[in-house]
Symmetry: C2
């Protein structure tokens, strides 16, 4: 009876974390009314869900709100992921600002839905995340791409020559001027001169300023 052969009959184990009573009830009803899915637990807070990991086997999917009392959904993601790395976390929230999206996805969420999504869309998204996808609201996906575009926008050009870039790379790597000279078969004085010119071009006056600029403005 408790034979593993009947796994095809087992329903997907889903946990729900949502502080709003009505939404929680309706989501649980939706999930339990769907063939192959089972809302095993519905929690009001992350704390309750965290406790449950000690008493029950972890779920395949966690549907998680962000605006929660106590531990926020964002913080919750990391804790859940630590307790059960294989559990997939699907954010279901009203917040669509870039910061929340960014934080949630960085923390390890596998999908991001807005609460105005249709029940069909939510069920579909649960299936999608289980099959290795990353369900996202259309607007959210757009924000995600914008976040990417922002990353690459700052490539300042300080018109460093190839030699200067080469030397700057070695500086960033932590070598001293003399070590760089040895490495590149140059005189110490040459490296010194190049670095002098680099400082002028980057508008810095020491190594730390140069290295910081390299990383902050994505030079090289």
């Amino acid at each position: 009876m408790k034979n593993a052969i009947h796994t095809e009959n087992k329903r997907i184990n889903i946990w729900l974390v949502e502080d709003n009573l009505r939404y929680r009830k309706s989501m649980a009803t939706l999930i339990n009314g769907t063939k192959g899915m089972r809302c095993m637990h519905a929690f009001v807070s992350c704390e309750e869900a965290i406790d449950m990991f000690a008493h029950d086997s972890p779920p395949e999917v966690i549907l998680l709100d962000i605006g929660l009392p106590g531990i926020s959904g964002i913080q919750g993601i990391e804790k859940f992921k630590k307790l059960s790395p294989s559990s997939l976390i699907l954010i279901l929230t009203i917040y669509d600002d870039s910061d929340k999206v960014f934080d949630a996805l960085c923390a390890g969420a596998s999908g991001y839905l807005l609460k105005d999504s249709s029940p069909e869309k939510i069920i579909e998204s649960i299936k999608e995340v289980l099959s290795g996808g990353a369900p996202m609201n259309m607007k959210i996906a757009h924000k995600v791409l914008n976040l990417f575009a922002q990353f690459n926008k700052k490539k300042s050009d300080y018109r460093l020559t190839d030699r200067e870039k080469e030397i700057l790379q070695h500086i960033v790597a932590g070598l001293t001027k003399q070590q760089i000279a040895d490495e590149l078969f140059l005189s110490f004085h040459t490296v010194n001169t190049h670095l002098k010119n680099i400082y002028i071009k980057l508008h810095v006056h020491n190594i730390s300023g140069a290295v910081s600029k390299v990383y902050k403005e994505n030079i090289l």
Copy 2:
């Protein structure tokens, strides 16, 4: 609540850049066979498409391959965006590795599809990108989320004390030890000692090593 695009008689102006003859033909046929869409030009290379910007009005959507002879699709994105920032670029390629995806999205692509997508999916995606979405293949969306997770990868903990972190921040900002001492109302010797301990904890021996480590491992 009708979208302006649907009320207008004009069809959506789409350009196609794809070096494979058969795929190019079949895509053009697909688009032109879709109500409200028109494949205005089909190019073999980015160069040809770039030339066309001088002779015809820019398209609403560019369907772009990545593996192209001459200017690659990735480089093409930036050039197209410069020539016509409002044109939306939809990548349509066989490459699904994270590097390509990352580069394309950073360059300004508005969507990323794989060539194994069904014709219906492609048409749907064109509509989605026009309505402000970011159509992505399921696997691609998953990779995008993984890229985010990598960004926020666990910041290594070198057990720096608050004071040490504070001093390291000032070092990263480009201040000298003496300037930091003045800034924090400390003795030069204190700053010196702290930095000494920071070096030991970070396993570096100079400022550039420390600053590099701060950025590379997301310390502070």
